[in-house]
C-alpha cells in the first residue's frame, strides 16, 4: 500500500504542518521569515513599539492555533500571515477605541501610551519616510483606497462611503495600486 505524506521538504504546507506539530524549528523558521514585517505593521498601525511586539507575539500564537487551516490552494503563506497580523492589529485598534470610550463614559481619562524613546521615535520616522516613498508611486486616490482597505481594514462598501465614490471604483483603485506596487518592486529587484 502507498503511504502519502504531505510534508515535502521546504514547502509552506510542510512548514505549517511542522508548526502545527509543535516543532520549535518550524516556529523559528516562520519567525525569521515574517517577524520583521509583522513588527513593522504593528509600528505603522499601532504607533508604538511595545504594541508592535505584542502584535508579533499574538500573531504567532494565532498562527499556531489555526495552522491546520492553512491551505496553499487558497493563497500564499506570506499573504495569510500578513492578513492574520493585520486583522489582529485592527482588533487592537478597535479595543483601544472601545476602552477609551468606556473610560471616558465613567469620567476617567485614558492613560496615554508611554512616551517613545528617542531611538524608537527615529525608527518610526524612518519607517514613515520609507512608507511615504513607497506609496508615492501611487496616485492619491489609489493610495487612499489602499490605506483604508489594508491598514484600516475597511470593506469596499465602507471605503466607497468614506470617499463618496462607487464601490466599483474602489475595487479598481485597490487592484491598480497593488499591481503598481508589484511592478515597482520588480523594477527595484531588476536594478
Amino acid at each position: 500500500m502507498d503511504h502519502v505524506r504531505t510534508d515535502e521538504p521546504s514547502s509552506d504546507l510542510a512548514l505549517m504542518a511542522d508548526f502545527a506539530a509543535r516543532r520549535e524549528r518550524a516556529a523559528g523558521v516562520l519567525y525569521d521569515r515574517f517577524a520583521s514585517r509583522i513588527y513593522g505593521l504593528g509600528v505603522v498601525m499601532l504607533g508604538n513599539h511595545p504594541a508592535a511586539q505584542d502584535l508579533v507575539q499574538d500573531t504567532f500564537v494565532k498562527l499556531w492555533r489555526t495552522a491546520d487551516r492553512y491551505d496553499p490552494q487558497r493563497g500564499r503563506l506570506e499573504t495569510w500571515v500578513l492578513l492574520t497580523a493585520r486583522s489582529l492589529a485592527i482588533d487592537a485598534l478597535r479595543r483601544r477605541v472601545l476602552e477609551s470610550r468606556s473610560l471616558q463614559s465613567v469620567g476617567v481619562q485614558p492613560e496615554d501610551d508611554p512616551e517613545p524613546l528617542p531611538d524608537e521615535q527615529a525608527a518610526v520616522a524612518d519607517l514613515s519616510a520609507r512608507a511615504r516613498r513607497a506609496m508615492g508611486v501611487l496616485s492619491p486616490e489609489q493610495r487612499s483606497a489602499l490605506e483604508l482597505a489594508y491598514f484600516g481594514g475597511r470593506t469596499t462598501a465602507e471605503v466607497a462611503a468614506l470617499e463618496g465614490i462607487p464601490q466599483g471604483t474602489v475595487k479598481s483603485r485597490i487592484r491598480a495600486a497593488l499591481l503598481r506596487l508589484r511592478a515597482e518592486m520588480a523594477k527595484e529587484s531588476g536594478r
Partner: protein, 249 residues
C-alpha cells in the same frame, strides 16, 4: 460568475473583506481557472511588495526568545502530553512514529478482518462494527473520531466496498488516515478514490490497484480531513464507479 466578475472581487477576497456566498464563489472559480489564479498571484505579490516597502522593520533581538517561549507555554498548556524541554528553554513535540504504527496496526485489525469478510462475500460492513470498538480504539489512539461509508456502485458499475476515515488532531501530532477497500469481480487495473467536501474541496488518495478484483488504498496525512464527508471512486478515464457518504461510526 465570469472571469471579469471574479477579478473585480479578487482584491476584497485577498484582503479578507469578502464574506459569505461571494467568497465561496470566488474560491470555487479559482480552483478551476488558471488565468484568475494568475491574477490573484499578481495581487498577492502586490501585497508582498506593499509589506516589504512599507512595513518591514527588524524587531528587537530579544523578541524572538519571548515569542518562542510563549509558543512553548501555549503548546504545554494545550491539553496534550507535556512536551520535552529543549536546552534553549523552548519546547519540542515531535510526531511519534510508534503512534503512527499503533494507529496502523489497530486500523488494520479493525478493517482487515472486515475486508476479509467482505472479500469472502459475507457483506460484512464497517457500519455494523460495534461502535464501542471504535470508541475503545479512540481511547487508545487519541484523535477525534472514526467515520465510515459504504461504497455504492454507480450505474453500470459493480464496485462495492467500504471507506474509513480516522480523524486525528491536525493541530497536534495525530495524523489522519483514510482507507478504502473496493471489490470489482474480475477487474484488473487502477482506480482513484477522492474525498470531497460540501464546499467543493477535494483530496485524492493514492491510486487503487486491483488484483483479482480486490483493491485498497491508504492515505496518511497531517492535513485536516474532517471537512470531507463524501468519496467517489473513478476509473482512469474519469468515469464514476462508486460513491460513498461518510458518516460517524
Amino acid at each position: 460568475m465570469t472571469c471579469d466578475q471574479i477579478r473585480e472581487l479578487l482584491p476584497e477576497h485577498l484582503l479578507g473583506s469578502l464574506e459569505g456566498s461571494e467568497d465561496l464563489e470566488v474560491r470555487r472559480h479559482l480552483r478551476g481557472c488558471v488565468a484568475c489564479r494568475d491574477e490573484r498571484m499578481k495581487l498577492e505579490e502586490g501585497v508582498s511588495a506593499l509589506s516589504r516597502a512599507v512595513h518591514d522593520q527588524d524587531p528587537p533581538p530579544e523578541l524572538r526568545g519571548r515569542v518562542l517561549g510563549t509558543l512553548g507555554e501555549e503548546w504545554e498548556e494545550s491539553g496534550r502530553p507535556a512536551a520535552t524541554p529543549l536546552p534553549s528553554g523552548g519546547f519540542r513535540r515531535e510526531r511519534s512514529p510508534w503512534r503512527a504504527f499503533a494507529a496502523a496496526a489497530a486500523l488494520i485489525l479493525v478493517v482487515g478482518s472486515i475486508a476479509f469478510g467482505f472479500a469472502q462475500g459475507h457483506r460484512a460492513s464497517l457500519a455494523t462494527t460495534d461502535a464501542q470498538s471504535y470508541r475503545n480504539l479512540l481511547t487508545v489512539l487519541g484523535g477525534k473520531e472514526f467515520r465510515i461509508g459504504k461504497l455504492r456502485p454507480a450505474e453500470g458499475s459493480t464496485m462495492q466496498g467500504q471507506a474509513l476515515i480516522y480523524d486525528g488532531d491536525p493541530s497536534g501530532d495525530w495524523s489522519s488516515w483514510a482507507i478504502v477497500f473496493a471489490k470489482v469481480p474480475g477487474y484488473t487495473g487502477s482506480a482513484t478514490a477522492t474525498l470531497l467536501s460540501s464546499e467543493g474541496e477535494s483530496q485524492a488518495l493514492p491510486p487503487i490497484e486491483f488484483r483479482g478484483g480486490d483493491g485498497e488504498t491508504l492515505l496518511v496525512t497531517y492535513a485536516d480531513l474532517t471537512r470531507f464527508d463524501r468519496l467517489t471512486v473513478t476509473s482512469p478515464t474519469g468515469q464514476v464507479l462508486a460513491t460513498a457518504a461518510i458518516d460517524h461510526a
